[in-house]
């Protein structure tokens, strides 16, 4: 499912080590578009990512560091990277291998967020 956002997700999934990418509605955690490897439960991941983004957003605002521009959750066998598109409230999400080039994925996520926003 990509709708009209296929080209936006392509920007991200073409980076080596990226397993998939999604656009998620930040307020309700619904998948807007996705390009995921088989076996990844997009809807559930989207809901959790949106919830996590919400908590993080509130905590960061309270701490005075402002809304998050980019965040990534590191795990033993991979990483989840997220950029919130401010204007639309959409979260641009990537799932990647642990040794992915974080800086490059970040740039592509920011670019995708601009397009999606």
């Amino acid at each position: 499912m990509t709708g009209g956002f296929g080209h936006v997700l392509d920007l991200i999934t073409r980076v080596r080590g990226v397993r998939g990418a999604m656009l998620v509605a930040g307020d309700d955690g619904v998948v807007v578009a996705e390009q995921l490897m088989e076996g990844i439960k997009g809807a559930a991941v989207a809901a959790l990512a949106a919830s996590l983004a919400g908590r993080l957003h509130r905590a960061m605002e309270a701490a005075g560091v402002g809304a998050s521009v980019f965040w990534h959750l590191q795990a033993d066998r991979g990483t989840l990277l997220v950029v919130p598109a401010v204007a639309s409230g959409i979260l641009v999400v990537a799932v990647a291998e642990p040794d992915v080039n974080i800086g490059l994925v970040r740039l592509e996520l920011l670019r995708a967020a601009e397009t999606a926003g």
Binding site: V45, L56, M60, A63, G66, V69, F70, Q74
Partner: protein, 283 residues
């Protein structure tokens, strides 16, 4: 020397807020009682976190213990507080020399010489660096430390169990940018100040972070990524890092935007190790 230490210990016991801890820790360090020196320095740093001399002293003890990475951070901190601190400049020069960065070593000594042009030891150190010899370390301790006992003169100042009450004692930003929480968002240690306003926001942030650890764990499990090891976030005015010192605890590190996420992760690793030790001691 022993009499000095005893007298200084007594003075400090009578007035724990005084700066006599600087002289006491240095005396202990020179005598080779490095663990005792470390405790005194850490205790003093806890009470005077914005005193450059306290960071300098702590760095000297760490250097004597060959803990160069933490010594570097302490001297770096001393310079942020007091950019012309010659002790810190000389200390960093020594560490740069040790890792083979002669240019940085000389640059730091040059800065020190500009501050204290009449100090012959700085000129001598510059000449040594230029000649490829190591500049003198910040007055190394002469001997290994005898075992501390309860009757040790330092016992009076070695603390009402410093680490028992202060999770992040001695760590940069312990009272304004480090927070340890339990799973329900209750504060276990550290404190947080608003990045721009300076107000205490410890409880508010803790409340918002309740449940984050479990949610992160569910997300990574669902993705087949295994256990989560950290969460880094870049904000418009600052950066944050979350880590999990134990399954029931969450650690938050907050720093200004100028501190890159990579450095923040290193700082978080150190804080996580301290938090883990503290949690273990709590049983």
């Amino acid at each position: 020397m022993a009499d000095d230490i005893r007298a200084l210990s007594t003075q400090l016991a009578q007035d724990p807020q005084s700066l006599v801890f600087l002289r006491l820790a240095d005396a202990l360090r020179r005598k080779g009682q490095l663990d005792a020196a470390l405790r005194v320095a850490l205790n003093g740093l806890e009470r005077h976190p914005h005193l450059a001399d306290a960071h300098d002293l702590y760095a000297r003890v760490l250097t004597d213990k060959h803990d160069y990475a933490r010594a570097f951070d302490e001297w770096d901190m001393a310079l942020r507080i007091a950019p012309n601190h010659t002790g810190a400049l000389k200390g960093l020069a020594f560490l740069y020399f040790k890792v083979g960065d002669l240019a940085q070593a000389e640059a730091h000594l040059d800065l020190a010489r500009r501050v204290e042009p009449d100090d012959p030891t700085i000129t001598q150190a510059i000449e040594m660096v230029r000649g490829g010899a190591s500049p003198p370390s910040p007055e190394p301790a002469p001997a290994s430390e005898p075992a501390a006992t309860a009757a040790s003169p330092t016992a009076a100042v070695s603390a009402p169990a410093l680490d028992e009450s202060r999770v992040f004692a001695g760590l940069e930003g312990a009272q304004e940018g480090l927070l340890l929480l339990d799973a329900a968002g209750r504060v276990l240690g550290g404190a947080l100040r608003h990045a721009t306003g300076g107000a205490d926001v410890t409880d508010a942030v803790a409340a918002y972070l309740a449940g984050v650890s479990q949610e992160a764990a569910r997300t990574t499990k669902l993705l087949g990524l295994g256990a989560w090891t950290g969460l880094s976030a870049e904000g418009r005015a600052g950066n944050v890092h979350l880590a999990q010192p134990s399954p029931e605890a969450l650690l938050l590190v907050v720093r200004e935007r100028g501190v890159p996420l990579g450095r923040l992760a290193i700082l978080a690793q150190r804080a996580t190790a301290m938090a883990r030790r503290w949690l273990e001691r709590q049983g």
